[in-house]
């Protein structure tokens, strides 16, 4: 899904934008949830309730208790600690994949918008080709060809972010180019590259930010799916998808194990989506009334 509001420049400046953002319930809820998840990932570097590399055979598949809030897995590892450490993997994969998508897609989209003509056609057709591949299928194919693992999962997810950002950047830039201040810049003798960098990019930055949160959320879901089928991060590195796979085979004995990693994924994705909704509301008050 791509997000294209009718107007995406906060016309009344940053402080008014922030005021509107803080008035948006979606933004506040999304910001708090996202911040908490990020905090959890950071804390996991210094402290977890238990050591995730410690296998305690005697403590296998315990139900949630005071000692192990979320219970333990089939190796006796503390599930809460594994979820904390696993968040690093999810966030890193999704974040770098967004970075790849933005890093390659935004220049492509801006170039297409600035030059137009055959180059524009070429970029758009390239997008069509990538979009013709069902993303998940190709991610499976890529990780299968180049081997499973977190790095290849990043590449597989990142490739599909490229056309998304190219499309959003192009659409945004195309709406900026006919504006008067661009004409003024051209009259002042600035070249297309300089105009793109100095005038177009800052004006579509918020638009890209909203799409970024959407792709971030989708990346978390995709990474979880890939790890679930064994193509993402490899054990012993904890990952949410892998934890769900392990839990599935033991669902009869320890049903709660399948609960917490799934909740972690859902809450993270929910937080990011709310954040994105909140930012777009604040950018475009007209749109909010429609929501």
């Amino acid at each position: 899904m791509t997000y294209l509001p009718s107007a995406f420049i906060p016309r009344d400046g940053l402080s008014a934008f922030l005021a509107r953002a803080l008035a948006s319930r979606s933004f506040i809820a999304g910001f708090i949830v996202t911040a908490l998840i990020a905090l959890m990932a950071l804390v996991s570097f210094f402290w977890t309730p238990d050591d995730v590399t410690k296998l305690v055979v005697g403590d296998r598949m315990l139900a949630p208790s005071a000692a192990h809030w979320f219970g333990t897995d089939h190796f006796g590892r503390d599930v809460l600690s594994m979820i904390m450490v696993g968040s690093r993997n999810s966030i890193a994969v999704a974040l770098v994949a967004v970075g790849i998508g933005m890093g390659l897609g935004v220049p492509l989209g801006c170039l297409a918008a600035a030059r137009g003509g055959w180059l524009d056609d070429f970029v758009m057709r390239f997008n069509d080709v990538v979009f013709a591949f069902p993303a998940l299928l190709s991610a499976v194919m890529i990780t299968a060809v180049f081997g499973p693992g977190a790095v290849n999962a990043i590449i597989a997810i990142g490739i599909f972010n490229i056309p998304v950002f190219a499309r959003v950047a192009r659409a945004g830039a195309l709406a900026i180019w006919p504006r008067e201040f661009i004409l003024a810049a051209r009259a002042a003798g600035k070249g297309k590259t300089r105009i793109t960098l100095e005038h177009v990019l800052p004006n579509i930055a918020t638009l890209l930010l909203v799409q970024g949160t959407i792709q971030f959320a989708l990346g978390i879901l995709a990474e979880a799916g890939l790890s679930y089928v064994g193509l993402g991060a490899q054990p012993p590195m904890p990952s949410w998808g892998r934890m769900l796979f392990d839990a599935q085979t033991r669902m009869m004995v320890a049903p709660t194990q399948a609960l917490f990693p799934g909740l972690a994924i859902m809450i993270t994705v929910l937080g990011l989506n709310l954040l994105g909704d909140g930012v777009s509301d604040a950018l475009d008050p007209k749109l909010r009334r429609r929501r």
Partner: protein, 314 residues
């Protein structure tokens, strides 16, 4: 209209061509010799060489690519390296699981989402709106394979209403087969329904602001009639686009869901083929899915013209 169709058809053909090049090139870089895979480690060099010649593996790359594409145009996807049967047979055997699954989930998604979206639009800003859109937010955020696990636990392990996995085959009767597809279809449909409900709602709210809606209301039509008769039809374009996109997503989405439920569909076939290095099967299935996406997008383009007479005049 003709020009519009011709242009869309050309784009579709070019996309397919480019996609075939990508798939061929990508699988070409995988190490491994199909001839050795078929004959085993003890094969004599002569036998290997003979098989390679027979399979055309010694031909130059462009020739092999053209052979492959020409074969696919005639629905001949080659022979599986591991099973030594035509790839098309494997695909047909599996597609009778994946296609009904995707169609059932698509139907579920539409049946849930359009009324839910319309309901929310009708009660905009009120409790019903907040409730259904809150549910949609949750639906988008839930990973479908996790939702599938919860469904298995609730309906198969706990209530014992449906099997937890596996597929009895259509020969076992329509009902047992449908029962096996029910949970996977629900799991696949939920996130799609959530997305579609949001799109339906915002498209409807946009059309509800149009002048003809005010006219219809002014001449005394009840709000419900205006919404369902006039606004919904005009809001269909974005909804159709998403439905089209979702069909391909659902076909590919089966790849993970089929693994959750141990369903012998296309997704499992690709998976097994990848682990067995049966690349010709992977190529065949991927191209089939890409062709489906391209075909569906083309159909969506045509349906725009059907829904929106302004496009027909172009």
């Amino acid at each position: 209209m003709i020009a519009y169709l011709a242009q869309r058809l050309l784009v579709a053909a070019a996309t397919l061509l480019a996609a075939s090049l990508v798939v061929f090139a990508m699988l070409e870089v995988i190490p491994g010799d199909p001839a050795r895979l078929m004959l085993g480690m003890n094969a004599t060099p002569d036998a290997l060489e003979a098989l390679r010649n027979e399979m055309g593996l010694n031909d130059p790359l462009p020739v092999r690519y053209l052979d492959w594409v020409a074969g696919m145009a005639a629905l001949d996807f080659g022979r599986s390296y591991t099973y030594s049967v035509p790839v098309i047979d494997l695909i047909v055997e599996r597609i009778v699981v994946s296609l009904p699954l995707a169609l059932i989930s698509l139907a579920l998604s539409v049946v849930i989402a359009i009324p839910a979206g319309a309901f929310a639009a009708q009660r905009r800003g009120r409790a019903g709106d907040a409730l259904s859109m809150g549910a949609a937010q949750l639906g988008v955020a839930i990973p479908n394979f996790w939702f599938a696990l919860l469904l298995i636990y609730l309906f198969a392990v706990w209530l014992r209403l449906v099997p937890a996995g596996g597929f009895p085959g259509w020969s076992a009767g329509i009902w047992p087969a449908l029962k096996a597809l029910l949970l996977p279809a629900v799991a696949l449909a939920l996130p799609q329904a959530a997305i579609l409900a949001r799109v339906t709602r915002s498209a409807l709210i946009e059309t509800l602001g149009e002048d003809y809606v005010r006219t219809a209301r002014a001449k005394g039509l009840p709000f419900g009639t205006v919404l369902w008769r006039h606004a919904l039809r005009n809001a269909l374009i974005p909804v159709l686009t998403i439905v089209g996109l979702q069909f391909s997503f659902l076909l590919a989405g089966t790849i993970i869901i089929e693994n959750v439920f141990y369903l012998p569909g296309l997704g499992r076939l690709v998976f097994q083929a990848i682990t067995q290095r049966d690349l010709i099967v992977v190529e065949g299935v991927v191209m089939l899915l890409v062709a489906t996406v391209v075909a569906v997008n083309f159909l969506v383009d045509i349906s725009y013209a059907v829904v929106d007479p302004r496009l027909r005049a172009r």
